[in-house]
């Protein structure tokens, strides 16, 4: 497992590298400067989930290119562990995304203090939930039909998020107000749903991977 995580880490380090890190930082700073308070929303709900999921898609692309799966199955790791390690790696980079979201929202709170700090904390954790939601759909798609399916799932999810954003605007932020009015209930439902989806996603991914090598 440690070796599989090391391989994924080295792949991302090689594929992304310092240049990509600086580019992401530049985009974050630009969004915060141009959009001010709203920048944190876009960074939290779009940029971070897309960046994390594109890393996972990139790993799948590399695996397919090198037919890594066939070799990995011949190594002293179970098929379940191979999938487990990818989920663990995805969880680790999602936590890194959460750290970025927390930093961005904290800076936004101090620079553009429109709402209470709790609101910004909520945005950061909602971003984490959103990232997990993206991964819960993309990972099994990758395991079932390959990297193109994962990419298609990411595009569909982005479209759904944007559509939800427009719908929210058109209804005078009805969703947001509903969330504010029923905060604890909404948070509970959202995170329970995300955890359930992640568990289902993992089980389905293991099943797809085992079927591929059966």
């Amino acid at each position: 497992m440690k070796g599989l995580l090391t391989k994924d880490y080295l792949t991302i380090k090689k594929k992304y590298g310092a240049a990509r890190l600086f580019m992401d930082l530049a985009i974050i700073i630009a969004l915060m400067k141009v959009l001010e308070g709203a920048g944190a929303i876009y960074i939290s709900f779009l940029l971070i989930p897309i960046e994390v999921t594109s890393m996972i898609i990139s790993l799948t692309t590399c695996d397919e290119q090198w037919k890594w799966g066939k070799y990995a199955v011949s190594l002293p790791v179970s098929k379940k562990q191979i999938v487990q390690s990818r989920f663990l790696f995805a969880a680790i980079i999602s936590l890194m995304g959460l750290a970025v979201a927390l930093a961005v929202n904290t800076i936004t709170y101090f620079c553009f203090p429109e709402y209470a700090y709790g609101f910004y904390l909520f945005i950061a954790f909602a971003s984490f939930g959103m990232t997990l939601l993206f991964l819960a759909f993309i990972l099994p798609s990758n395991y079932s039909l390959g990297v193109n399916a994962g990419f298609a799932a990411m595009i569909v999810l982005v479209i759904v998020i944007v559509a939800l954003g427009f719908w929210s605007k058109m209804t005078g932020d009805a969703i947001m107000w509903f969330v504010v009015d029923n905060f604890e209930l909404c948070i509970g439902i959202f995170f329970t749903a995300v955890i359930c989806l992640c568990v289902i996603s993992y089980a389905i991914s293991v099943s797809f991977f085992k079927r591929k090598y059966a």
Partner: protein, 287 residues
């Protein structure tokens, strides 16, 4: 310690249009076994079943005396595998590959790995995408031999390599089996390589096991009889394994060439190579 490093009993795998049909063979410790057969004969399917890359439909496979599924991780920790193509990420260097392999194999040996990189003249900090095919195969061997493997499984690992690199690899395999606890299962189309190094030959044709014999028995006993129709007609067909009718003569594969030479003095009897034995079974007419 089990006497046989690998035992395959009644192995079956059904793909609908192809069936691996009740294969039986064993690999004792300290030997090289060559797995031969035409393309699509079932060699890779057999290896994939052994490695549990695909699920077998029936039969038993035990490696190091243990069931290959129940003790899968423990077994694979002591197996080195080399496939016919590179599966290492080509953006990595050999050192980076060593870093993650060290986290996969419990008995990874850095000094041994470094020694192999040096011996094979593989630059430790150069990306694999800049390697030649031969260098990539040598790297795969370096990985396969750096974790105290007792069984090496090679699936067409030397195909497409030039004779010099193949010779280096064959030397390495011979060195590997100097330790009597080590064995090698090598599937290859290059039968001349197997004649050099194999102790046993297992021949699969259309998913069926044709034979699994010590190589010396094949090379010392099998023969090709060249004769005309008159001699062929008088031949005891129980001695014939397979034959091919050519323009002006028959070529007959026999199991006992000394006996054939004695019985048919008018015929020309010579030894059979492994390639000829394979060709007779695949392209010849069976008795």
């Amino acid at each position: 310690m089990s006497e046989n490093i690998l035992e395959v009993k009644n192995l079956t795998k059904d793909y609908g249009d192809f069936t691996l049909d009740g294969l039986n063979f064993t690999i004792p410790r300290g030997v090289v076994m060559g797995l031969i057969g035409e393309n699509g004969a079932g060699k890779s399917t057999t290896i994939n079943c052994i490695l549990n890359e695909i699920r077998k439909d029936g039969g038993e496979i035990s490696i190091f005396g243990k069931d290959h599924i129940q003790s899968e991780i423990e077994i694979k920790d002591k197996i080195g595998v080399v496939f016919d193509e590179n599966h290492f990420p080509d953006i990595f260097t050999p050192m980076e590959i060593g870093k993650y392999m060290a986290g996969i194999y419990s008995a990874w040996e850095w000094p041994v790995y470094r020694k192999f990189l040096e011996q094979f003249e593989l630059p430790a900090d150069k990306k694999i995408k800049d390697f030649s095919k031969g260098m990539k195969v040598k790297l795969a061997f370096a990985v396969a031999l750096s974790h105290k493997a007792e069984l090496l499984i090679l699936d067409e690992a030397t195909s497409g390599l030039d004779p010099i690199i193949r010779d280096d690899i064959l030397d390495m395999l011979i060195n590997f089996v100097q330790d009597e606890n080590h064995s090698v299962l090598v599937s290859s189309h290059i039968t001349s390589d197997l004649e050099k190094i194999a102790d046993y030959i297992t021949f699969i044709h259309k998913g069926k096991l044709i034979f699994s014999y010590p190589k010396d028995d094949l090379v010392d006993n099998y023969g090709v009889v060249s004769c005309g129709a008159a001699v062929f007609d008088t031949m005891d067909k129980s001695e014939v394994v397979a034959y091919r009718k050519e323009d002006f003569q028959y070529k007959i594969l026999v199991k006992d060439r000394s006996k054939a030479a004695r019985n048919y003095p008018k015929a020309l009897v010579g030894p059979a190579t492994i390639e000829e034995i394979m060709l007779f079974h695949v392209k010849g007419e069976l008795k």
